[in-house]
Structure formats: C-alpha cells, structure tokens
Symmetry: C2
Subunit: 335 residues, 2 copies
C-alpha cells in the first residue's frame, strides 16, 4: 500500500463557505492544529486563491500577506501552500511576495482546458526553488484525452505534480478512474485528486483516485468548503488508515482538531437541494453562495438558476453570468 | 436499467436522531410530502420499530397507533411500512393492531445471525395478507455465507424480500458487492440494502448494491437518521436518475420536500468525529446519542467508549453495556 500525500485546503476552499471571512485568529488556531496532527501541506488563502480578494469575488477579511506571514510562523513540519490562478495572481507582486514570505508549495490552477496560462507562474515558482503543482479545475468538462494534453503542458512547464479538481462535485467513480488512470499512465509526474461532495461521492471518488494510481489527495476538516463541501479530511484519513494507506497524520489528533475547528469556525457543509442540482448540472461549487443570494433577491428557485448555468456551461470566474441568468429567468416568469 | 423500489424510513430511522420526539404534525406533513413526490413505501415508527418505545430505548412522543392511523389517512399510493423487531413488538398486540390499522409492508428485523426469531412475525404478516420483508441488521458482523444462511431462513418463513442493513455504516463497496452478489445469486426473492454514512460511503454503497443485483434501497430525507445518518434520499434519487435507474419518484418535488422537511423537523446529520469512530469500530449507529450523553456525564471521550464497544462486539439492543463500559473506563482512568 502506498503513501498518500495529503494537502489540506481548509483555510482556502473553506473560505468559500464563509465568503472569505475566516478571522486571523481562527487561521492561527487551525495552523497550530494542522502542525500538531502532522498534516503535510496546509493551503491558505482567499477561496479563489492568491490575489483574488475583490469586490466581484468577495473581499477577504484578512490580506494574503497577513495570513501567509501568520501561518509561516506557526508551521514547522507542515508545508505552507497556496492556490494561484493566473489572472487573479500576478507574478511580480502576488507570487513574488508569497514566495518571499516563505510559501513552500505553489499550486498553479487553470480551467481544465486552459493550462497555457499557467506557464509563467509555474516557471517562476521553479526558478525561485519552491515546489510547483499544476491544477486543472472543473475537470469533468474535459475528456481524459484532453486532460492529458493539458496536464502534459503543465509537466513541460516544470510542474512537479498535476491535480485534477472535481470542482462541481459531478464525478462518479468510473469518471475518476478513467481520467486518473490515463494521466498516471502517460505522465512522468505524480497525479492528485481534489473532490467535492455534491453527489455524495467525495470519499468514494478519492479512494477510486488512489486505486487508479493517484498519490496526492485534498481534503478539508469536516468538508468545510465550497458548495456541498470537499472530501472530509478526518474521515478520509480514517478511511485511508482502514484501507491500509499511510498518510503520516495522527488520526486521533486530527479527529480532535476537527472537533475544535468545528466549534470555532468550520461551518459543516451538507448536501442541500441546490448543491445536488449544482452537481447534476456540473456547475462550479463556489457559485452556491452567490446563487443563493441572487435567487433570494429575484424571488427565484436556486435550482432553476443552477440548471440554466449548467446549460450555459459556465466556468469558475464567470460569476457575473449568475446575475444575467437571474434577470433572464425573471423576465421569462414575468411574461 | 432496472426499476429500483425505494423505501423511506425518514419517520422511523429519523426518530433516532431526535430521541423519538418527532411530533404528530411533522409526521403528517412529511406523509403528505412523501405521497406527493411518489415515494413507494414510507416507514413509520419509533427508531427501534414497533413496540420499542420504552424507558431504556427512549419513549416515543407519539404512540404507534396514533402515528400509524394518522399516516394511514394521508397515504394513498404510498404504502405504509413498519420496522418490527420481535422481542420489542409482540404479535398479538403490536403487530395485530398495526395490520388492523392498515399497514401494507411489515419489515421483520433481527440481528444478522438471529433470523430464527423472525419466523412467527413473518408468518403472521403473510397470513394477514400484507407484504413481509426480512431485515438483517448489523450485517457487517457476518460473512456472506452466514448472511445467506440467515436470509434463506427468512425466505423459508415467507419473506418476500430480504434487506441487508449496514447499521454501523461500516461497509466499503467491496463488502457490499460480495454480500449482495451472493444473496442475489442464491435467493429466490428480491434483495435490498439499507446504508448508513459513518464512513461517507452511503451513496456509493447503495449504488454498488444495485450494481450487484439489489432492487430495493432505503434512504431518508437529508439522511435524517441514526448516527451519521442514512443514505440521503433526495441525493440518492438524483444520482439514480443520472445513472439511468427508474424510481417513479418526482425528483423536483422530492428536492422541495427535503427543503420543507429540513426547515420543519429533519435535523441534518453529518459525520462527526464520534460517528467516524463508530463506523471504524462497527458499532450500531443508534448508540450515538446515548454514548454522547453518557460520555458527558462521566467526563469521558466518546471516541474511547466507541472503540471499547467495538472491541466487545455489542449489537443493537445492548444499550445497557454503554453504561457498563463508561463505568469501567472511569475506574481505569481513576486508577
């Protein structure tokens, strides 16, 4: 049974669940818990990553620099990671500052068919001698062949691993095994998987990814994250132990960390009716909060908005289309 | 793709989550929603089934007769089901009354190695011309061979289906496929599966059961049920539709029903740290509430109680052992 590298985006994907309002104190609390439990990588930031705090996507309560400096001081064995979407994060300002602060792992992400935009950020991270992973978001929207093509680009830019994200929680195990198997077979670098739980498959899909050859998994405490949440980290680690995988994490301390995080800041997600429709429609989980808000404002059923967003095949970053869809649905219902 | 028969124990397994205190009004509300969404079977009762309301297991807020008469009046196309554990439910009083009221489906349950005790109840139900299913609880504690032997007994008593319950939420898909495949192959009656979510596998295991030949699945609204909850019904139906199975349920109405049930009475469960340990230890999910209460009283970690209960291989109905374990752990920690 192989070793699994766990990367924990509780303080990044979890931000989506609270509109990027995690306090500095709670970040410091969680960084201490993560270090104590032996979590290998802790990812920190705005829900949409470095430099994404903005009026459109939501302002972070704590600045990137402030949270990274704080976590840097708390972490010794746990590596400090960031999620970087080129376009939101500039190289000369955001990425340079983050690496200057002491970030260890830079995960450069793009929509699953847009790996070209990750080239300069990945190359810069490698030049600065930090680890660089490539991340393909909303990966259910591309075939295994297309994902392999994009992942190979990331590999050629110097990425040391490639992570497939099921950003909409739309995968079934057979989808995961087809794609991961293909990447593992044809890439020279390790492959990872990042699950969401919209269809209740986050844990099952994560295990399938490992069985298909992946060696990196993402998970957050209590599943704290966008939409129906991520793979629930402490549950994932318990299941992995039972199945004989090694993570290096202290399960008992991790279960306690989950209880503490829940009592302080980690809102426990569940699969709501709109999350189900979001998963069925294959829409980015990060849209849940704005869809709920906008549907309330317009007196619409959020399920109808999600079905329409699915038909339009929107991707992360196109939050403005939610409003457009709401206006169009209101006009229709008023006709 | 085959038709799946959905049986919904929201008003029975859900009782565990609120210590059997669902109000009559909420039962009537949910019965109306179930009928409107086209749910085939609605199971109603105390968490431990007919006649189980007691000081030791918890008193029901509403009597068996009252809730069954109420639901009988609300249901037309949806069949009225009950969970019957011989020992709690007598034939001459409890079962006779329930059938007189107009129950359609009698699910007679025993611990997975004790099918003998279901004989008289199954035979009585068949004599009275209502449907009778056999239910093997805590089925993870027996091998496929042993389960088949017990299920064959139920078949010989006249059971028209056999349901395997993963009462502790301890199964992985490979466990499910091994057992269900064996039963489907060697029984002449339909096979069903009842999942719990302690290891996050309720939906994945339910699908695996179907792929292994099962044709009956249990699920509750929002997963409302013992411990980490059941397979989440509206999510299960959405996933089944996506995979091409037919349930006859109106998904859109079911999603709305879930929202309404949640806002009125259905507490949404999640996989707590103690639920995880319960699943890992293979302890009955219905123990979650009493374990939490007793661990608070004794100042113990509920995780430690669950691990010890797992070592002692306790089964449902042995709630008194929780106290014994708590006393023994307190004495140890005081030494």
């Amino acid at each position: 049974m192989h070793q699994v590298l766990i990367s924990d985006p509780t303080l990044r994907d979890g931000s989506h669940a609270v509109r990027h309002q995690i306090t500095f104190e709670h970040m410091m609390l969680y960084a201490e818990l993560a270090e104590a439990a032996g979590i290998p990588i802790l990812e920190v930031g705005h829900g949409n990553g470095l430099g994404a705090s903005s009026l459109q996507l939501g302002k972070s309560l704590v600045s990137d620099a402030h949270m990274l400096i704080g976590c840097r001081e708390k972490l010794v064995n746990t590596k400090l990671g960031i999620h970087v979407i080129p376009g939101f994060a500039t190289i000369n300002k955001d990425l340079k500052n983050a690496i200057d602060i002491g970030v260890n792992v830079v995960r450069v992400a793009s929509h699953c068919t847009e790996a070209d935009i990750t080239k300069c950020h990945i190359e810069y991270a490698r030049e600065r001698d930090v680890e660089a992973f490539g991340v393909l978001m909303m990966s259910h929207m591309a075939s295994a062949t297309k994902l392999l093509e994009e992942a190979k680009k990331m590999q050629s830019y110097g990425a040391q691993a490639v992570i497939l994200m099921d950003s909409a929680g739309a995968y079934f195990p057979s989808d995961v095994s087809e794609r991961i198997t293909r990447l593992v077979h044809d890439l020279e670098i390790p492959v990872g998987f990042h699950a969401h739980n919209n269809l209740g498959m986050a844990i099952a899909n994560s295990i399938t990814a490992l069985e298909s050859g992946a060696v990196i998994l993402d998970g957050t405490i209590r599943g704290f994250g966008a939409g129906a949440g991520n793979a629930q980290l402490e549950l994932l680690v318990a299941v992995l132990e039972r199945l004989g995988y090694k993570t290096g994490i202290d399960l008992y301390k991790l279960l306690d960390a989950a209880d503490i995080a829940e009592s302080h800041f980690a809102k426990v997600p569940y699969v709501s009716s709109t999350n189900i429709v979001s998963g069925l429609s294959g829409v980015f989980s990060g849209f849940a909060k704005p869809v709920e808000r906008i549907s309330r404002e317009f007196g619409l059923d959020p399920k109808d908005i999600f079905f329409e967003l699915g038909r339009r095949k929107v991707v992360a970053g196109q939050e403005d289309i939610i409003l457009e869809v709401a206006v169009s649905l209101s006009q229709k219902s008023g006709e």
